[in-house]
Symmetry: C2
Subunit: 270 residues, 2 copies
């Protein structure tokens, strides 16, 4: 098997720094690298996502699973990079993807989302019962996670351009951290890591995301069997509705000494 | 023509506010609404985007144009909402979309992005020559735009969950502001407004986005003929590369008294 070169995640570039008070001067700036990744399944292009290179096999595996396109990695014979920007997935004999990916999805026939409940129309069903997860997380532990995430990502934080997703135990130990220009990619990279190390469902775990919690991220967490999703910033209405329906704890604005618990507050021990 | 009910952009919800020092108390929180919008062209579902309701006709028009799916609004006979979450586009006779949308795109046949330059493989060509735009913007004006954007969006800023895109003149007057849970949607809503009011190409204009500048946003700005793209946060490597190639000025970290000029610094007057 070829060993690919280490991916370049940051890029230096000369910029002009302009200060209204101090004038302008050239300066070196560090950019987060963004490149397209095409995911192919059995030689058929399935999706292209704009991502930061690195952990691309995890990204491909995580994407296929959290989008509900594959029921498990048991369907996969091999995933390899056939180019720095192409991940080629080969399925086992008789394997096939379940449907078109959500982000490009064509609704079924006549009606689309007309008159249907939005969540039912777009959600992917998880095989895991997150509501039954009896884990408890102490509020001070939850409050400490953003600091732990930032400490772990301090290298790439230099660009100011990366979203981070960190998977923690209920006692606050960091299991894995992934960063990406796309927040969904960061979560899919965590998902791929968990899938490929045989840890799914992620019972008892907390997923922390550095930005906002959208429907898409809540869905990915549910697909992975994660009982607690925490975000440094705001959740959307549909993220809250989905978390509520799925029995997942959703915390937002986890900053400093405070946080908002939107759903599943029974898991938070004060 | 039916007049649809005013869309709901925010939603109140009771949350549990937890403070490590002061304990927990129920509190009302305001969420940004996120709902799917399906865009159909001549009864064929083309794309679904998660967006904040409102300005949906603009969003549909802007999406089709900035993604390079339609060369102009002259191709469109009508856009209407056939449901609160479905925008139906009817083309003129013989009209057709040019290709599959980028975000769901299937690369052509054999090679995909293998061995090709990433930008060439994924970019959409603008019909406008942004490089020729001779507009100049004073640095103090550029520095003032984030404050003007925040002042104009103060209602929805309450949720903490919305991205904003503002279109300004070179002298700093706000032409239009749009907010959305998705940053690309906010820009597409601005695009649709500009298209439907006959203002494209947007010569001499500045587009300010509240977050990061990705490849996708830089591409949309180029498609609209916008000479200056400014972001409150960091640009990605590919956004900078595309802006450079297209002759667009790209400013990042536009905050307080300072900013970084990544490309096209000749347009910034100090």
């Amino acid at each position: 098997m070829d060993v690919p070169a280490a991916p370049t995640r940051t890029q230096r570039r000369k910029v002009l720094r302009v200060s209204l008070s101090d004038g302008a001067e050239p300066r070196a700036d560090i950019l987060a690298v963004e490149e397209p990744l095409e995911i192919r399944v059995d030689d058929t292009p399935l999706s292209v996502t704009m991502r930061t290179p690195g952990d691309d096999l995890d990204l491909a595996a995580g994407f296929l699973f959290t989008e509900g396109l594959l029921p498990s990695l048991a369907e996969v014979r091999e995933i390899r990079m056939c180019d720095s920007n192409v991940a080629a997935v080969t399925l086992q004999q008789n394997g096939q993807v379940l449907r078109a990916p959500n982000r490009s999805f064509l609704m079924t026939s006549a009606c689309g989302v007309c008159g249907k409940d939005s969540i039912d129309a777009i959600r992917t069903r998880s095989v895991f019962d997150v509501a039954a997860d009896e884990v408890r997380v102490r509020a001070p532990v939850l409050a400490s996670l953003p600091g732990r995430l930032r400490a772990a990502q301090k290298v790439f934080a230099s660009t100011g351009g990366l979203h981070a997703a960190g998977l923690f135990t209920a006692s606050g130990d960091l299991l894995v951290l992934r960063e990406d220009v796309g927040r969904h990619n960061a979560v899919d990279k965590v998902a791929g890591w968990a899938l490929r190390s045989g840890r799914v469902p992620l019972n008892g775990c907390v997923l922390l995301v550095s930005g906002r919690a959208s429907f898409e991220l809540a869905q990915k967490a549910l697909m992975l069997g994660i009982p607690v999703l925490a975000a440094v910033s705001a959740p959307s209405s549909l993220a809250v509705a989905l978390a509520d329906e799925g029995g997942m704890t959703l915390a937002g604005f986890v900053r400093g000494q405070t946080m908002n618990i939107y759903t599943g507050e029974h898991r938070i021990v004060r």
